[in-house]
Amino acid sequence: MGSEVSDMSDLETPEARIAPTPDREGDSVRMNMIQAINSAMDVLMDRDPNVIVMGEDVGYFGGVFRATAGLQKKFGKTRVFDTPITECGIIGVAVGMGAYGLRPVPEIQFADYIYPALDQLVSEAARLRYRSAGEFTAPITVRSPFGGGIFGGQTHSQSPEAIFAHVSGLKTVIPSNPYDAKGLLIAAIEDNDPVIFFEPKRIYNGPFNGHWDKPASNWSKHPAGEVPTGYYRIPLGKAAIVRPGEALTVLAYGTMVHVAAEAVREAGIDAEIIDLRTLVPLDIETIEESVKKTGRCLIVHEATRTQGFGAELSALVQERCFYHLEAPVERVTGFDTPYPHSLEWAYFPGPVRIGMALKKIMKD
């Protein structure tokens, strides 16, 4: 089974994506993911005076990853400002601003530091529309760099998406390339529900295929690094088939889309790779259709295994595609340990671990 696919990049052009990409404005230029995210905020702040950006070091300095560079200069200090170092304060204040009628885009410097804000996110932002029967809403978009692969150790590498995907009322979005990052971030900021927008920092500058010991590439050579300068949206809740295939379905998001693609290439398997892009609401149709076609499913994420988002995906596939499955659903994930520093590459679910799982599924 399985046919050889030699060049993944041909299949990763935006044009090859299943999801529609309407309402483009202006020319396209080469952008890395940081520039695309910056451009999304820039474009929306131009269009909507209620969009404001806030967080630790986001103002004058432009963010520790440069995601907000130039925005304060362009839009002024009352729309782009630095905050005290208090994550519960940042999100609590953003909820209040949302109740006033603003559309705040708060940044949490690392996803590893979002926990002090959990009460405001889980008890307040997520519940506000429900508990007030729609009178008050929290149209906030929490941007936060996440994921490992950068020797970030325990507190600069975590992938806490499952915590948020578990909370009714929150949406969780994770882009995997500059083109998507901008389109999804615009959709997230315009969305009237609170959105957790996790940015895989390992791929800010270029796609990462998991081969840490080989030279890194950058987005300038990747088709998804071609980003329209103007306004466009990628709808939330729509996955992208980044590589059509027949032999099995790979579900991934963020950095792992690229790592999974590399593992599939190396294994020479005709896998269908789905980039989920949004975890909640999930594009169940695309997943279901694919697994019913292929009969096999591999789920890949960086986050720890137990109670990770992969467990939900696995359960859904099992419930909805049971009679089509030819092998057990497999999960390749981070191990159930805190994220290590020196042993990062033993921990990270790279092409070897994924490759072993691919072979196992295809053998069954």
């Binding site: 208090t86 909820v95 209040g96 508990r131 009322g169």
Partner: protein, 428 residues
């Protein structure tokens, strides 16, 4: 052992665990309680620098003296009509609380919380604000709604979670919410409203609006991290916000010492943040009004936030689920040296010759009838668990703006389940 200092001669450390003065059965003696005389506290300019408030953070701003006179620089000099209106709102709040507490005991709803003894805190403060200033209350400021003439029937519908409940039966009783009433959705999670109020005030300032925000929490909630983050944000951005701490001495069974009251005041917290801090007699409606009016002017003139500690006493149990007889002396409420806020305002009006006991008694009767009539009206829409409720599928509304597929599936599952069960939950 080399280099290790000998510990043999050091006295053992001891851990201090606060203990309230009086427990059940104890005779209460407040004679050592220092009540500053009314009228003696200075009233600074509303633009005074925040580092000058040390004295006002450690005293009690008081207007009404023991004889019922309004004295000193904080006297807001309200008209008799306004004083009577204030008294009426406070009495209405107490009548409402009495009736709803009884409704819970009669099994008409699951839960209630009274504000007895604290009526002035929410009522007088609200009267000193504009109608569209945004309030971020805790669960014991139903007086805001009362003082904004909010419909009692609407409040009761929420308490009964009935078919007319605007919150669709989604919230625990008393967790009101009304955008029109500029009353933010109450959350069960303590102090979360504090940074939200600051954020709302920051937004108002950023947009060049003229509205300000006010928020309330209990002294127990000041121990939450959100209290700290809110004060930090408020001072950093000079947010036009009034931060009220209702120090009613008790956080369920824990006395205020467990929030730090043995060592300092709650108004004094403001000083460390660079926020103007006032500590006021919370049972003195005129002091509450005057302090709020002062803080509102400070906020409206871009001079920044004010923290007001309302020193008061929670006369009754924490909630219908609480029995204060288990942890404090029953005499505390009656011996409380700052008295009852309604009686004190009533005595003042009588002293002015603008009120009398007969009119007061008649008003109490009238308000009781008003509340009773509202209750009758609300009960037409149902009481908790008696059939008249929201359509079943509203359970899934409002989680998101648009319902995602998984909620649609679960909604259908619930409707199928109801069909199968034969329970009387059919959609109305």
């Amino acid at each position: 052992m080399t280099g290790e200092p000998s510990r043999a001669n050091l006295p053992p450390l001891s851990l201090h665990v606060p203990e309230p003065k009086f427990r059940p059965g104890d005779a209460v003696d407040f004679s050592d309680f220092d009540v500053p005389p009314a009228g003696e506290q200075r009233r600074p300019d509303t633009a005074e620098a925040a580092d000058k408030f040390h004295d006002l953070a450690f005293t009690l701003v008081r207007v009404l003296d023991d004889e019922g006179n309004a004295v000193g620089p904080w006297n807001p000099r309200l008209s008799p009509d306004k004083l009577r209106q204030m008294l009426r709102y406070m009495a209405l709040l107490r009548a409402f609380d009495e009736r709803m507490f009884r409704a819970q005991r009669q099994g008409k709803t699951s839960f209630y919380m009274k504000a007895t003894g604290e009526e002035s805190v929410a009522v007088a403060a609200t009267m000193a604000l504009q109608r569209d200033d945004m309030t971020f209350p805790s669960y014991r400021q139903q007086g805001i709604l009362i003082a904004r003439d909010w419909s009692l029937v609407d409040m009761m519908n929420q308490i009964y979670s009935n078919s007319a409940d605007r919150l669709q039966g989604k919230q625990l009783p008393i967790m009101y919410s009304t955008k029109e009433g500029a009353f933010f959705s109450i959350s069960g999670n303590l102090a979360t409203q504090y940074p939200q109020a600051v954020g709302w005030a920051m937004a108002s300032a950023a947009k060049g609006d003229t509205r300000i925000a006010a928020t309330w929490c209990g002294e127990g909630s000041t121990a939450e991290g959100d209290f700290h983050s809110a004060l930090t944000f408020a001072t950093v951005y000079r947010a036009p916000v009034i931060l009220n701490v209702v120090n009613n001495q008790w956080a369920i069974s824990s006395f205020s010492g467990f929030a730090g009251a043995e060592a300092t005041t709650f108004a004094a917290r403001a000083v460390g943040y660079g926020i103007a801090g006032l500590r006021i007699d919370g049972n003195d409606a005129l002091a509450v009004y005057a302090a709020t009016e002062w803080a509102a002017e400070r906020a409206r003139t871009n001079q920044g936030p004010t923290l007001i500690e309302h020193f008061t006493y929670r006369t009754e149990g924490h909630s219908t689920s609480d029995d204060p007889g288990q942890y404090r002396s029953a005499d505390e409420a009656t011996e409380w040296p700052l008295g009852d806020p309604i009686k004190r305002l009533k005595d003042h009006l009588i002293k002015l010759g603008e009120w009398d006991e007969e009119r007061h008694a008649a008003q109490d009767l009238e308000l009781a009838e008003t509340v009773k009539a509202a209750q009758k009206e609300a009960e037409k829409n149902g009481i908790l668990g008696h059939g008249l409720h929201q359509p079943l599928d509203t359970l899934f509304d409002g989680v998101y703006e648009e319902m995602p597929w998984h909620l649609k599936e679960q909604r259908q599952q619930m409707l199928d389940e109801e069909q199968t069960s034969g329970r009387p939950w059919d959609r109305k």
